[in-house]
Amino acid sequence: MATEAAVQPRTALTIASARRWLKLNLFSNRFNSVLTVVTIAFVVFVVYQLLKFVLVDAEWGVINANRRLIAIGRFPQGEEWRVWPPVWLLGTLIGLSLGLWSRITAFGLAVILLALAFLFGLMFEGTNALLAAVGVVLGATGYLGTQYGRLSPRALALAERATRIGWIGLLPLTVVLLLVAGGVRTSLWGGILLNVMLATVGIAAGFPIGILLALGRTSSFPVIRIPVTVFIELIRAGPLIAWLFLARFVLPSFMPSLFALDELDIVVRAMLVLSAFTGAYIAEIVRGGLQGLPRGQVEAANALGLNGLQITTLIVLPQALRSVIPALVSQFISLWKDTTLVFGLSLFELLSVGQATLAQTDFIGRQTEVFLFVALIFWAVAFAMSRLSARIEGQLGIGTR
């Protein structure tokens, strides 16, 4: 009874407040009313056209028929087993991380289910669907276990530790799995796999490079500071695609023949360029963090008797890096988008796979479907990362201090 009585006025209130909300937010004056009507017309038109295309007009057969190419490119038949363990680990880590440091809202759950329905409807079939399901089950177990498992504080701490180590170990494990025991040459990597590998290797190598460059640029030694500054500014002056072309045409003639470095695969050369390029940009981000650090920190560390190396690694870097985490995630997003540029090197990444499917006689004229799909994949990853960045920003309290 009590609850019903409480509900009754609330509904009435909701209708009144809905009217007030509409008046306040959509029809506050004549200009706003006109704007609202025009915007509604525009939104309805766009959404209608989009839904009509996606659900009625489009023929998604082109994606379905090429799902292997889209996922892994020209990866040799029979070697697919190398890809699955990293996918499973990734699923587990996502589940664990969400369980440990976050919570899936109803909306988030809907998005995840939609994404899974999309993936299983379009990308996985037969054995692959089963193998992919393993990853989903692992992720769900990780999430439910940490969120609802009533773990002891010690077990939770252990799980957090394992998750951190897992994230750090994911990339080395993937590289090793792809390359060990008569592995797959980098030139045969393709599709989404290639984009992911280029972006993660680029950021993983670019991060330490960036820190070293930032320290070099703020160094008090002119012999170090000047060349580092020239290097950073030179890299940032040219477009990435020019540097990638440099990797293709010029780099081989400058590599020493030591360890057959002059015969490096074009994919590896592209990774080198992406790392150096990302490093130069990260250096500027980290330099911002270094300069934002109060002087007192270094002076206090000096007073405690720490030496230069200790001050840098124990006092300066941890604080500087913490404050630039969101900017670093943005850099990763931009690197993820920039992996499309290896298109120019005739590498078989996702966008070029899309372009290639359009040459198949069955699918001529399907460019709208293909490019919408390609855009959606890139967008989904980048958007998820940007949400993550905003979350970290909120948790660190950056900008509110």
């Binding site: 937010n25 959509l26 506050s28 200009f31 706003n32 704007l35 609202t36 915007t39 509604i40 525009f42 939104v43 008090s220 030694f221 002119p222 012999v223 170090i224 060349p227 030179l234 002056a237 040219g238 477009p239 990435l240 695609i241 020019a242 072309f245 440099l246 045409f249 010029v250 003639s253 400058f254 020493p256 997003i333 988008k337 920039d338 499309t340 540029l341 298109f343 120019g344 966008l351 372009q355 460019q367 709208t368 490019f371 390609v374 855009a375 890139f378 967008w379 980048a382 958007f383 940007s386």
Partner: protein
Amino acid sequence: MATLSTPAEPPPPFLRSSKGRRFLIQAAAAGVLLLFVAYLFDRASKLELGLGFMDERTGFALANQWITTFESNDSRWVAYGAGVFNTIRIVAVGIVLATILGVVMGVARLSSNWLVSRLATVYVEVIRNTPLLVQIVFWHSVVLLQLPRISEAVNVGEVVYISNRALAIPWPQERGSLAVVWVILALVALVVAAWVRNRRLVEEAETGRSTHANLYGIGVFLVLATGAYVATGLPVGIDVPELTFNDTGTTQNYVGGIKITPEFAALLFALVFYTGSFITEIVRGSIQSLPRGQSEAAAALGLSGYQRMTLVILPQALRTMIPAVTNQYLNLSKNSSLAIVIGYSELFLVSSTILNNAGRAIPTFTLIIGTYLTLNLLISAAMNWLNRRVQSARL
């Protein structure tokens, strides 16, 4: 006693003093650097480094030319120049349009109208998180190449034609020899109008009476420019595009006006929407960083929402956003190199074609990077000048 007799600590040997360590570290770094540079020079000396090949005949034709009249018999320098001009063309138009879009969407993002601010947010989140290259290819092959063929070109009132070969629009065309004179006179009229406007603004500030400065400025410009136009004998006309037909009566091509090719348009749209989404966030950020009191005080003075935005909020926000926007302009100019994928013949496409033909990688790359560096420095210099002017302006 013991403490007194302790002799002063001898200074450490030079190499163990802090000065000595600095010297050692720098010497080591310099040594490594020298070795590295020597290695690079050694490698480079085995390659051809001269720019002599740029004087040779180019041997390929360029599409997407406007004003430039490059032909395949011209030297590679001329081709390169045409490419640089095409880059400057797209960058200039792109910067202007991206700024307008960014400011409009940035204001929309903070609109009190819930729907408008949501729409602006969706625009930013969709465009910013999708690779530019995908957007360029999308505009090119999904939107612009799907337009009707030229034989079925959409005819907008006999003045604008839309087809997948090009968008043809009317364009000014000089009719007499005095066109240049008129352009110069019009520029003089602009300067005079600006002076008149400034004078009236000063008067307004001193007396407090409204002097209608903008109205006077525009009026002075229109009167002077029209007068000059008549005096020089109507030297500039409007060239309207027309369709040409072959013997069987099907449409063949456009004549006259100006043709905006799908390549130019695709690159322009993609660059403008992409860069615009970043500028939107910069504008939003700098508006939000203004103290709330500014908007409240303006409201208390009785200014309307539009006046608050254009007279109080934006002028102040613009001051803080110039450095960040400059970065986006530099990104836009570098991103224009992605045109290579759809074949808009700008600097990078032209030079990589030259590279393919002549095979002189190092000189060509030095040229490419040098040109982008120069372009970026010019943009930075212009924006720094603007920044200094804006920062020193009276409020």
